[in-house]
Amino acid sequence: MSIQPILEVEDFSKTFMLHEQGKELPSSHSVFLKAYPGRLTALIGPTGAGKSTVLKGIYRTYLPTSGRMMFTTEQGQQIDLATADEHQILELRKEEIGFVTQFLHTLPRQSTEDVVAMPLIKKGISREIALEKAREILGQLNLPERLWAVSPATFSGGEKQRVNLARGLLAQPRLLLLDEPTASLDPKTTDRVVELINNLKQTGTAMIAIFHDMDLVEKLADDVVELAPPIGTENFFNSDTNENA
């Protein structure tokens, strides 16, 4: 392949140390993957394979236990996300790496359109333009207009997910991590999401995604990485809950 990967994960492992129980809990073991501009890499594998852990490791919500995650910045600088300075990570989160999770933490007073526009405003785009774009994408994701000025705190799961997606897609990061972005969406909206993700690919965004639905993997994935649960945890009952804690 002629294009260079934007992210190269090599031998990533994550083991949680639970001090209270005096227990070690392996979550991901020796993961290798690459993400390319304009392409989507899908992570597949059974529950407990540590798919979410990998995404959180890349985003540094989890501290990797071992491995390298070489990210190439817009300026062409190589940064190992596993060991990068926290300020560097915050800067990358603001400018280059986005994450759409299934969960949404917002303040009760912030309106939905503000929540969605925020990453753009933080990048220095005028509030007016950012809000305009926010409304546009909220429309595309079929979120009823009457909800735009309301705080998403009281929204249903599906509505919250749309807000989350709108925010993550609108920011147009160079690398976008997607953790089951369509889990609670109706088929019609899911189609819109597919369309939007394809559009984003056109702009050169690299994506790493987890889909609950193999159909979507087929529709969207350019590369597929299959993960297996770390040895000794195949039957660990709660591993999936832990990943999403």
Partner: protein, 278 residues
């Protein structure tokens, strides 16, 4: 957030009492105390180091007695540290905070730093009106035009959502949340690049808390003010801070990105703290 460093703290320590050679080795999380068993001195903070960047909100989390407030009070010159260094970067200049003379310290306090205390009595002068409190800070920075002071006070109170009709009332007539808003307005009067917030929402109603936190985020967004938020409340940390320092018995036991501290805490104490809050 940009890569401009605002504050660099290195090895800051504060001991109350006469201190002895064994103070530091006999206190801290592994000894479960901050009181030196040899001399009875209190090691309120030891070996505190961190950086703060422009537009960044840094959380300092810990239980009472962990030294989180002490650290901030030393930086705001409310206390004099026992040892350590702190450098403040401002407008192309840098200041070695702990070697400044009294007048230089006062200048920074009045012009370049802002402090919001948990107890409004510490941050507000209760003998003068809300507007007068803001005027005081403006007068410190040598603004000498009455109408301008008045206008600026109105602007600040409007921004912090205090009814400007009430600006000439005494702070004691205000609710706790309103007092905090006036305190924030006062702290912001000189557009300081560095703001300290010490348990600012503690003791307020939940809805009032949310509104104050919202205000703080808005200030950070609009003014790129660097802030240090001291709190024992994980919710406050989650909403405000990009990075978080966890303290216990006067020491930093863990530091990291806030979401990492909350979702993948490394230290046993932090794990307990996070688990008990969820």
């Amino acid at each position: 957030m940009s890569n401009e460093k605002v504050l660099e703290v290195r090895n800051l320590s504060k001991v109350y009492g006469k201190g002895c050679a064994k103070c530091f080795e006999s206190t801290g999380p592994e000894h479960n105390t901050n009181i030196c068993p040899h001399c009875g001195s209190i090691v309120a903070a030891h070996d505190i180091s961190f950086d703060l960047y422009k537009g960044e909100i840094l959380g300092i989390m810990g239980e009472s007695g962990s030294g989180k407030s002490t650290s901030v009070k030393n930086l705001f010159f409310d206390e004099i540290p026992t040892s350590g260094q702190a450098t403040f970067f401002d407008d192309g200049k840098q200041y070695d905070l702990f070697s400044l003379n009294a007048q230089q310290k006062r200048h920074l306090r009045n012009h370049r730093f802002g402090m919001v205390y948990q107890n409004p009595v510490l941050g507000l002068n209760f003998n003068v009106s809300a507007g007068g409190n803001i005027a005081e800070r403006l007068l410190m920075s040598n603004l000498t035009n009455y109408s301008e002071i008045r206008e600026r006070a109105i602007e600040l109170l409007r921004r912090t959502e205090v009814l400007t009709e009430r600006m000439d009332e005494m702070p004691k007539n205000f609710s706790g949340g309103m007092q905090q808003r006036v305190q924030i307005a006062k702290a912001l009067a000189t557009n300081p690049p560095l703001l300290f917030l010490d348990e600012v929402t503690t003791g307020l109603d939940l809805s009032v808390q949310a509104a104050i936190l919202d205000l703080i985020m808005e200030i950070q967004r609009e003014s790129q003010t660097a802030m240090i938020v001291v709190t024992h409340d994980l919710g406050v940390i989650r909403l405000l801070a990009g990075r978080t320092i966890v303290m216990k018995y006067g020491r930093i036991i863990e530091t990291g990105l806030t979401d990492q501290i909350l979702e993948d805490p490394q230290d046993a104490y932090t794990q307990r703290l996070v688990a008990s809050a969820l």
